[in-house]
């Protein structure tokens, strides 16, 4: 029973060898449990270091605090900060405990359900112990469910929790190379499909909102929504035209396949490095106006400064979140330069 309990606590990716080592050191049930409890914090922390993307987590923290729990509208910034911390920690633990072959839509839905459950439990505890620390009912009714839908798309689009140590093999068979290319192409195709789906969703929802808006609605709000639609359309067009996978011919020999694959990786790095210009900037102008519009009590100049500050923060977090992926692709590109065929 102790072994079963310990098995549950060890992240799946580390389970095999950690449980094996603990079994090898077994002397008595008490010693086994003590060993396991001493090892566990290191194993979980190491797994989290490997699987959590700090930039993406910081972005999610900002998104949860501002967009889901409506931090500026709460009595105190900490009222939204505590559920934000609980949510981000839950997601980080979900990453650490990710199974080795996750099914992404299910995994993303599981992430969102876990984070929502943790926050709701926290709210329940607050309701019993300290009602003053509860989120406003408006943010729980509107911001929370809407934010969870967006969180689902973010988690689905940017799967985290996968960790692969760098490959060192200097030789590959044609079959292994094709397998790697298939995984790479599948990953890019999937990401673009999700992004295009999100573009259609955003354009549809925002257009409907713009049409349904009463004539008396603030002009700033109308502009913000219109610019958000334009930004989403631009991103969709860019992805469709420039970012789609260029399939590598299956008839090419090993050297030609490596050359074409490296070309594709180089193109992917270029696109990722220009991420700010074709993704963040077009998608941020509308929401920036929305943020500025919501800060009604703030002076106009301070409002602009806050909106630009929020944009700069989100942009730098997203660019930072992209860096590990670029670095990993760059490393693979360099490794492929010296790979030869193994027959």
């Amino acid at each position: 029973m102790i072994a079963r309990f310990v098995r549950l606590l060890v992240p799946p990716a580390e389970r095999e060898h950690v449980l094996g080592d603990l079994a090898e050191r077994y002397e008595s049930p008490a010693r086994y449990l003590a060993d396991a409890l001493k090892v566990l914090p290191f194993v979980v922390a190491s797994r989290m270091r490997r699987t959590v993307n700090p930039g993406l987590s910081a972005f999610l923290a900002f998104f949860l605090w501002f967009g889901v729990f409506w931090g500026p509208q709460q009595r105190h910034w900490l009222v939204a900060a505590i559920p934000t911390l609980v949510g981000v920690m839950t997601l980080a633990l979900r990453d650490a405990y990710r199974t080795l072959v996750p099914r992404w839509p299910h995994a993303a839905a599981g992430d969102v359900i876990a984070a929502a459950a943790a926050v709701l439990i926290l709210q329940g505890v607050c309701a019993l112990v300290a009602p003053g620390w509860m989120l406003t009912s408006e943010s729980l009714r509107v911001g929370f469910p809407l934010g969870l839908v967006i969180l689902f798309f973010v988690r689905w689009q940017s799967p985290s929790g996968i960790h692969q140590p760098l490959a060192f093999s200097r030789t590959m068979t044609m079959c292994e190379l094709r397998g790697e290319i298939n995984v790479f192409e599948g990953y890019v195709r999937r990401a673009i499909r999700i992004e295009l789906g999100a573009v259609i969703f955003v354009v549809g929802c925002f257009t409907a909102a713009l049409i349904a808006m009463p004539p008396s609605a603030p002009t700033l709000l109308k502009w913000a929504i219109a610019l958000s639609i334009c930004g989403a359309l631009f991103v969709g067009a860019f992805l469709f035209r420039h970012a789609r996978v260029r399939p590598i011919s299956r008839t090419a020999d090993f050297a030609a396949t490596i050359a074409l694959y490296r070309q594709e990786l180089e193109r992917r790095i270029r696109i990722s490095k220009a991420y700010f210009w074709w993704y963040i900037l077009p998608l941020s102008i509308g929401p920036m106006l929305l943020i500025g519009g919501r800060l009604e009590r703030v002076a106009p100049l301070a409002r602009i400064a806050l909106a630009v500050g929020a944009f700069a923060l989100i942009a730098s977090l997203l660019v930072f979140a992209m860096r590990p992926m670029i670095k990993k692709t760059q490393t693979r590109l360099e490794q492929l330069a010296s790979v030869s065929e193994r027959l």
């Binding site: 095999e16 449980l19 094996g20 080592d21 050191r25 914090p41 290191f42 140590p165």
Partner: protein, 109 residues
């Protein structure tokens, strides 16, 4: 990395931990800290790992074996050279007495 080198073909969690404890004696080292360090070394490309076949004495679980990669061997060599320089510098001032049990810290003036 020294422990991996010393364990040769039998470098996995338990043996590496035992060797690290032996090398760092009298300081105790937690097994969990060894895992965390091995993960970091693997991420830096200094060591690589693979799972062996499961064995009955480990409850049917596999061992994660480690080996030094060329970059790891280079890094270890550089560390050894740096450590030797530090030893030489200290020995120059304190003499060979530092290696014996008779060594005592100098009194403050």
């Amino acid at each position: 990395m020294t422990a991996i080198l010393r364990c040769r073909d039998d470098a996995y969690g338990i043996t590496i931990h035992e060797t690290v404890e032996e090398l760092s004696s009298p300081k105790a080292v937690a097994l969990g800290a060894v895992y965390a360090t091995l993960d970091r070394l693997e991420d830096k490309g200094l060591v690589s790992s693979w799972l062996s076949d499961p064995t009955p004495e480990r409850g049917g679980r596999s061992k994660r074996h480690y080996r030094l990669e060329p970059d790891g061997q280079r890094a270890l060599r550089e560390s050894v050279i740096a450590a030797r320089r530090i030893c030489d510098a200290v020995e120059d001032v304190w003499g060979a007495a530092i290696w014996s049990g008779k060594w005592k810290p100098a009194r403050q003036k």
